[in-house]
């Protein structure tokens, strides 16, 4: 066996014998002839990596014996920028790390800054609008996750159906804040604008239509026999592994861990909403295969969409007229201190560690990006799977490269 030069410092490559045992326990047949593994670059331009990520795969035929993710192709120094622009000026940059859930990013950043400003009061209507936007954005983000996962598995049509509904959500956001992707709407102290007239009714209409569309996605893709065969028992993450790798969000819940920051460490009014029964936390049950496989993660995302819908409806009932933003000065000065605030983003816990020395500019702005952490599990998950499975696994981690690289 002639191993390529990079092979030396690869921690995750398993011994050949172990790698040649499929997850189902079947042993791949191979002969003792002089062969060498093939090193394939999956990416930086590859349809399955969801952006410019490179996974260096070591393969033996269709069997992946080693995988090594390489990041940094989309590194935009977000943290360094956070230390050089003013507090409010950094807000548009938060849109850009996970561009599929910009509302949640805005929210996380705003909450982190607000944690340093104890005097600042956020009006209840502002909080409610924040929740509606965050949950709608979660639906939109999971729709992309579902659609692109379909693409990874080879089904095209669900992608278009998912984008059809996502367009609707984006049109709603466009009405409320003027942008379709990078909203910068949730600001320090509340939200930036009150809802335009009739907007809440449109959201309610969306909720009604979305429910039946959701059933269609479910029948078309999630319950499809081929899809189940492709994803069940593939990429199984056990509970211990999930803890060890610090996974959060649907990745953690897919492994059967009942933990959701919205319920267990409530921010905004999520605690109240949960007490009112507005949402439940779905976890992976291993219905089609093993607990923690790709199907479970997808299923968790699917169910979460419906739970988010429940939350939106609850907020629509609770919302009352009033101010939407607290008393925020034009140039924000944050008292000295440091805070880490993590919220439940569609992809996991998005945390901001903000450190202020009392000035107009943050001293340290740390972004704990869920995709970055969730991606680390690939190194352990991919060896021993087939090439097509590795695509399914990357898809099920639902990464956004803008966030892994920041």
């Amino acid at each position: 066996m002639t191993s390529p030069p990079q092979a030396e410092h690869k921690p995750s490559i398993r011994p050949a014998d172990e790698a040649r045992t499929l997850p189902s326990g079947e042993r791949e047949f191979f002969m003792d002839v002089a062969t060498s593994d093939l090193e394939v670059n999956m990416g930086p331009q590859h349809p399955a990596t969801h952006g410019v990520m490179r996974v260096l795969l070591r393969t033996d035929g269709e069997l992946v014996t080693g995988a090594q993710p390489h990041l940094g192709y989309l590194h935009r120094c977000a943290e360094k920028i956070g230390e050089s622009v003013e507090w409010l000026q950094y807000l548009p940059y938060t849109d850009r790390y996970d561009y599929l859930s910009a509302m949640n990013n805005n929210l996380s950043y705003s909450l982190a800054v607000e944690a340093l400003m104890p005097e600042l009061e956020i009006p209840r209507r502002g909080t409610m609008i924040r929740m509606i936007c965050a949950e709608l954005n979660r639906i939109a983000s999971h729709l992309v996750a579902f659609g692109t996962y379909g693409l990874d598995i080879g089904a095209f049509t669900p992608f278009f159906y998912a984008f059809r509904e996502r367009e609707w959500i984006q049109a709603l956001f466009e009405k409320i804040c003027g942008a379709r992707l990078t909203y910068s709407y949730i600001r320090i102290g509340g939200v930036f604008n009150d809802t335009p007239p009739g907007w809440l009714q449109e959201v309610a209409d969306f909720c009604d239509v979305f429910e039946e569309k959701w059933q269609e996605y479910y029948d078309l893709l999630i319950e499809n026999h081929i899809f189940v065969q492709r994803t069940a028992n593939v990429g199984v993450i056990s509970e211990e592994m999930a803890y060890d790798f610090g996974l959060t969000g649907p990745m953690l819940r897919g492994s059967g861990v009942d933990f959701d920051l919205r319920r267990d460490m409530p921010y905004l009014e999520y605690g109240e909403a949960h007490d009112a029964g507005a949402f439940k936390v779905p976890i992976g049950t291993g219905e089609k295969g093993t607990v923690g496989d790709c199907w479970d993660r997808t299923q968790v995302r699917m169910v979460e969409m419906m739970e988010s819908l429940g939350l939106v409806r609850w907020c629509l009932e609770q919302i009352e007229p009033g101010p939407v933003i607290g008393d925020v000065p034009r140039v924000i000065k944050v008292p000295p201190g440091e805070a880490y605030v993590g919220i439940e983003n569609p992809r996991g816990e998005l945390g901001h560690y903000m450190h202020s020395d009392g000035g107009k500019i943050a001293t340290r702005c740390r972004v704990r990006a869920p995709s970055f952490v969730n991606l680390a599990v690939l190194e352990d998950l991919m060896p021993g799977t087939l090439l097509a499975d590795s695509v399914a696994i990357i898809g099920s981690t639902d990464i956004v490269i803008g966030e892994t690289d920041r």
Binding site: P11, D244, P335, P336, E338, R364, R366
Partner: protein, 171 residues
């Protein structure tokens, strides 16, 4: 448990490495103290961090299964210390813990937490390239986000931006 209870529990158990507790305090005009808002942190000795984290993970009352975040911070160019900030999360007990290690800039080296939490691996790699912290016994100490031949540690406050990189002007 709230933060104070965790801190008390740790000090009662005499966990190695626990130094002090940083609590938020309100500003005081007389002593010209600007105050400290935000969240409390535990200060831990960097060289004992592995033992400390192991205790936090294995102790039943604490049960911090998840290392959420590990990062560094350079408060200012004049400061002689670099901060290593660790966030722990307990799924069982629904609690968080912030840990801070002060690492002198003259000797930027501390043990790697990868053995306790695999999640630390990528965070430490990022820390290494961005702040120049050396994590001893790190299994894969390559650059994570930056190119392999990048000079300097960009997140430090005293970092000077290069004029050009491989013939590409950075002006």
């Amino acid at each position: 448990m709230d933060f104070q209870a965790i801190a008390d529990h740790l000090s009662v158990a005499q966990v190695p490495g626990l130094l002090s507790v940083e609590l938020p305090r309100s500003p005081d005009k007389e002593t010209k103290d600007k105050g400290r808002s935000g969240l409390p942190y535990l200060c831990v000795e960097p060289s004992r961090i592995v033992e400390f984290l192991t205790f936090c993970r294995d102790d039943d009352a604490l049960g911090f299964e998840v290392l959420v975040d590990l990062t560094a911070s350079d408060p200012s160019a004049d400061d002689e210390n670099l901060w290593i900030l660790i966030q722990l999360l307990s799924v069982r007990h629904r609690q968080r813990l912030g840990i801070k290690c002060l690492l002198p800039k003259s000797a930027l080296s501390m043990p790697s937490s990868t053995k306790v939490y695999r999640a630390a691996q990528w965070h430490e790699r990022e820390c290494m390239e961005m702040y120049g912290v050396t994590f001893e016994d790190h299994p894969d100490p390559r650059n994570m986000l930056l190119p392999d031949d990048w000079v300097g540690y960009p997140m430090r406050k005293d970092y000077e931006f290069p004029k050009e990189y491989h013939g590409i002007s950075c002006e």
